[in-house]
């Protein structure tokens, strides 16, 4: 009885001892954290990384007794170093807190860095480091530095990085042009052999110096803004060019990335315009190899509602509705064709057609694999688009239509 009990107590004491004496290595108070909301990476002229960290000042964001002060809600620190970890360490000398990346919403990469060095080197660190979450969005700073984009303060949303995140999410839903790509997507595409990669672009509009002051929050029409724009095309991890507007959306159509979109078309070349709100889309690929030559058929199906029409068409006539469907389908087809052709011109399989061919015909793929870029450039493709305009909104006939 007695030795048994002491055994038990020994166990309890050892347990308690480890708990109490060991302290807490991974313990960190929330007040000691520097939450990095956005991170930007550029390359300096002397071949060092310049990393910028947009760090939130919690007291200025959240309510509470300290009140929403007049100061900026974020501070952007910037440092240079040979590796990214080195810059993180250097920033700790400036900021009195522990940099934390678990809530980083956006990672912005400077255009120069993306074009010259490519993404592979920096992504190794980003993937490996435990603190990053792989859902962080990745964007390319179009025509500028990542640092300047992170330095701009924003109206409406006090934390600019969160604002960028929201813009991307909203615009993917409403416009369908800028893709929502996170670290994991990028890592997947970088590790695949045949795949190209496309990332959203972000640019600075207006004056950098003015945007850095919190005075920007007091203007009705801000002097400077950041804007999500364009699609950066990568090959072998290096930036090769940009798509904008229709082409960018064409890529989204191909990749089945369009959730919702506003589609506009002309009724007739000389008549007014009309627009439809696309609510549901789906793109299906049919890859195959015909006589040793790869071919892909893209079947796109979109459903939507008429939103705006400025031409005299009797919408109560079903034939006219079918005509509308075809008009919009032609529009989509044009966007897609432009995008694919442009990609082919650049010998850059940003869509991942190669993987699709591999799935369809692994044997043929093995032969094509080596010079896929060339095969891609002259591969056949066919686009079939079906659009269904289901409704005409709250009114039937357009105002412009004169009833007899």
């Amino acid at each position: 009885m007695i030795p048994k009990m002491s055994h038990k107590f020994l166990l309890i004491w050892v347990l308690l001892g480890t708990v109490l004496l060991s302290g807490c290595w991974d313990h960190k108070e929330t007040g000691d954290l520097a939450l990095v909301m956005g991170m930007g990476i550029d390359k300096t002229e002397d071949d060092l990384y310049q990393v910028s960290f947009q760090i939130v000042n919690p007291g200025r964001v959240a309510g509470g007794k300290t009140g929403q002060g007049q100061g900026a809600a974020v501070t952007t620190y910037s440092e240079t170093g040979k590796t990214i970890l080195e810059t993180i360490r250097k920033v700790t000398q400036k900021a009195p807190r522990l940099l934390t990346f678990s809530h980083t919403g956006v990672l912005i990469i400077g255009e120069d860095l993306a074009a010259e060095e490519g993404l592979k080197k920096i992504f190794d660190f980003i993937e490996r480091y435990h603190d990053f979450r792989s859902t962080t969005l990745v964007l390319i700073a179009k025509g500028g530095e990542a640092k300047s984009i992170l330095s701009i303060l924003s109206p409406l949303e006090r934390i600019p990085a969160i604002k960028i995140q929201e813009i991307i999410e909203k615009s993917e839903q409403a416009w369908g042009e800028s893709p929502e790509r996170n670290i994991n997507d990028v890592a997947q595409m970088l590790s695949g052999k045949s795949k190209g990669l496309s990332l959203g672009g972000i640019e600075l509009v207006g004056d950098l110096a003015k945007g850095q002051s919190s005075a920007v929050n007091m203007q009705a029409t801000p002097d400077s803004l950041v804007k999500v724009n364009g699609l950066a095309l990568f090959k072998d991890g290096k930036l090769r060019g940009w798509f904008e507007g229709e082409k960018a959306r064409g890529v989204a159509w191909v990749q089945n990335n369009v959730n919702r979109a506003i589609l506009s078309a002309n009724c007739n070349p000389d008549e007014g315009a009309m627009a439809a709100e696309i609510l549901r889309t789906h793109t299906r690929w049919q890859p195959k190899v015909v006589k040793g030559k790869p071919k892909i058929t893209l079947n796109i199906r979109a459903e939507g509602q008429l939103a705006d029409i400025a031409c005299a068409i009797d919408l109560s006539n079903p034939d006219n509705m079918s005509w509308l469907d075809k008009r919009f389908a032609a529009e989509i087809k044009q966007e897609v064709t432009k995008a694919v052709e442009a990609a082919q011109e650049q010998n850059n399989d940003i869509f991942g057609f190669g993987e699709a061919i591999n799935r369809a015909d692994p044997k043929a793929w093995k032969k094509m694999k080596k010079n896929w870029s060339e095969s891609f450039a002259d591969m056949d493709f066919q686009v079939n688009v079906k659009v269904f305009i289901r409704g005409t909104g709250l009114r039937k006939e357009p105002l412009i239509l004169k009833k007899k």
């Binding site: 060991s22 960190k28 929330t30 007040g31 939450l35 959240a62 919403g105």
Partner: protein, 524 residues
């Protein structure tokens, strides 16, 4: 499981046998003097001497303890009857007189004839009136128990919205009657023993013969007999002396002040232990899940009953884990907290002088102090304590920046959740272990919490209540008994009694109890 036999058992048995040899004297005066001496001339001892008959007049006396007896019964049915009936009686043989009193005179329901001195003292002290006749070594005790006792009132600690409003009282007789009133079956058996070498408290085992598990019953009898203590003041004494795992903070014996709760348990084959002097009746064997079942669950719609049970289990988990999870998530795993919430936490934490762990610990201790103070204070002041403590202290502490508002919310929430159990004593382990888990959370984050849960669950699964695994029917998993645990199935679908508690006589209702609307076609 087996309790070691008490070493002192034999000795005390010997002691009592020595005493038992003492019988009553034939001489009345001797007897009276002896009683007076034995009770140390206590002033509440009432001895009324009188004479019986006239040929010759025989000395007799009635003895009772003031306040323990019902004075009216004593005067009407004992004293007056004797006085009215006996004056003309033949007093030739003393034995005859005695029999006459016993059979014709005393108009009290329950009487006993005893010779044993100790038994007489015990009867006297239990509120019986004793009739002693000179020259007779026998005495008659008349059951005149009464005196002041609390009336049956509403339950104070186990409230229900719908259900009987009666609660047990301090009198074991009343309590037994409250149960028997609800089970009119000859199979409801009651065994009473006296426990406590000084207090001689009545302790009764109540069960339904044929439903109760005989093994558990025998085990209960043995354990109760094994108790050797001077006094039993409350059923808590019994509980602590017969439970399986005295070191465990978890109660392995259920207690209730609701007769309907006891009846429900008896019908499931459990055994009730009634203790005189307390309104709390013990029920064995007890399962962990039983402490989350309220009798009211059965009185209302099964969907509501089930939801409330799930809610209570949730509250239990929250009481146990909320502060620890708060500490672990914010200080160890901030990545799991949604961004805006984390920023809000960080903003609140700015300027708070303590580490979060210390902060939560302080607030939790403060809460426990408030709760205890509120309980002990006179009712009028209690209100003030809670206002000052809850509102003023909390508000001021947050405004002064000593604690963050989030911490106050977490602690208050935990506090409220800890009041949601239908059984008070199941909350005790949660309140205590909460602090240990907080300590682990403060040192190791969620890993610490997970390890604490492992040990906690292993501990719970190792517990037994009178041989029944405490965590059943979950571990060991018994599908048939799940019907009345986290959820309560419709009453008509619970055809069998819980399997663990009893093995025979399983059926508790017919199979076709499900109410159905009348068949229209037949009527036509």
């Amino acid at each position: 499981m087996k309790r070691p036999k008490k070493l002192t058992d034999k000795k005390s048995v010997q002691n009592s046998t020595e005493k038992r040899d003492r019988n009553l004297d034939q001489n009345l005066t001797n007897n009276l003097n002896k009683i007076k001496k034995e009770l140390g001339n206590s002033t509440d001892l009432v001895i009324r001497e009188f004479t019986i008959g006239n040929n010759p007049a025989l000395n007799a006396a009635i003895i009772y303890m003031n306040g323990l007896v019902d004075e009216q019964t004593v005067s009407e049915f004992v004293l007056e009857s004797i006085k009215i009936e006996t004056p003309e009686v033949e007093t030739a043989t003393k034995k005859g007189i005695f029999d006459f009193i016993k059979t014709h005179v005393l108009s009290v329901g329950k009487i006993n004839v005893i010779q044993d001195w100790d038994k007489m003292i015990l009867s006297l002290l239990s509120g019986h009136t004793i009739v002693v006749v000179d020259g007779c070594a026998d005495i008659v005790t008349a059951y005149t128990k009464g005196g002041e006792s609390r009336k049956i009132s509403e339950p104070t600690s186990q409230l229900v919205i719908r259900g009987p409003k009666e609660a047990f009282t301090e009198s074991i007789g009343t309590n037994a009657a409250l149960i028997r009133k609800r089970i009119k079956s000859p199979n409801l058996w009651l065994e009473t023993i006296q426990i406590g070498s000084v207090t001689q408290t009545d302790v009764a085992i109540m069960y339904i013969k044929g439903i109760a598990n005989e093994k558990v019953l025998q085990e209960a009898r043995d354990r109760l007999k094994g108790i050797d203590i001077d006094g039993i003041l409350e059923s808590g004494y019994i509980e602590q002396l017969i439970q399986d795992h005295p070191y465990s903070p978890f109660p392995t014996i259920y207690n209730t002040e609701r007769p309907d709760g006891v009846v429900g348990n008896l019908l499931e084959g459990r055994i009730a232990i009634l203790v005189d002097g307390t309104p709390y009746v013990l029920v064995i064997p007890a399962l962990f899940i039983q402490f989350f079942q309220s009798p009211a669950d059965y009185y209302q719609h099964f969907l509501m009953g089930s939801t409330l049970r799930l809610l209570r289990m949730l509250c239990y988990t929250l009481t146990l884990l909320t502060p620890s999870l708060y500490i672990a998530l914010t200080t160890f795993h901030p990545q799991m907290v949604p961004t805006r919430l984390l920023i809000s936490f960080a903003a609140q934490n700015e300027g708070v002088p303590f580490p979060l762990f210390i902060e939560v610990m302080l607030m939790e201790i403060t809460f426990e102090i408030l709760r205890e103070a509120g309980l002990r204070m006179p009712r009028a002041v209690g209100q003030a304590v809670s206002i000052v403590g809850g509102l003023v202290l909390g508000q001021a502490a947050v405004q002064a920046g000593l604690v963050s508002a989030a911490t106050v919310i977490v602690v208050a929430f935990t506090g409220i959740a800890s009041f949601a159990f239908p059984s008070y004593n199941i909350g005790i382990p949660a309140r205590l272990l909460r602090f240990i888990i907080m300590l682990l959370a403060g040192s190791f984050g969620l890993y610490g919490v997970a390890m604490a849960l492992f040990i906690l669950i292993a501990h719970l699964t190792s517990l037994r209540s009178f041989g029944i695994p405490y965590l059943s029917p979950f571990a060991p998993f018994i599908w048939a008994d799940i019907k009345d645990t986290l959820v309560r199935q419709p009453l008509w679908s619970m055809v069998l009694r819980p399997r663990l508690v009893n093995q025979e006589n399983m059926r508790q209702q017919g199979k076709d109890n499900k109410p159905t609307p009348p068949d229209e076609s037949k009527n036509n």
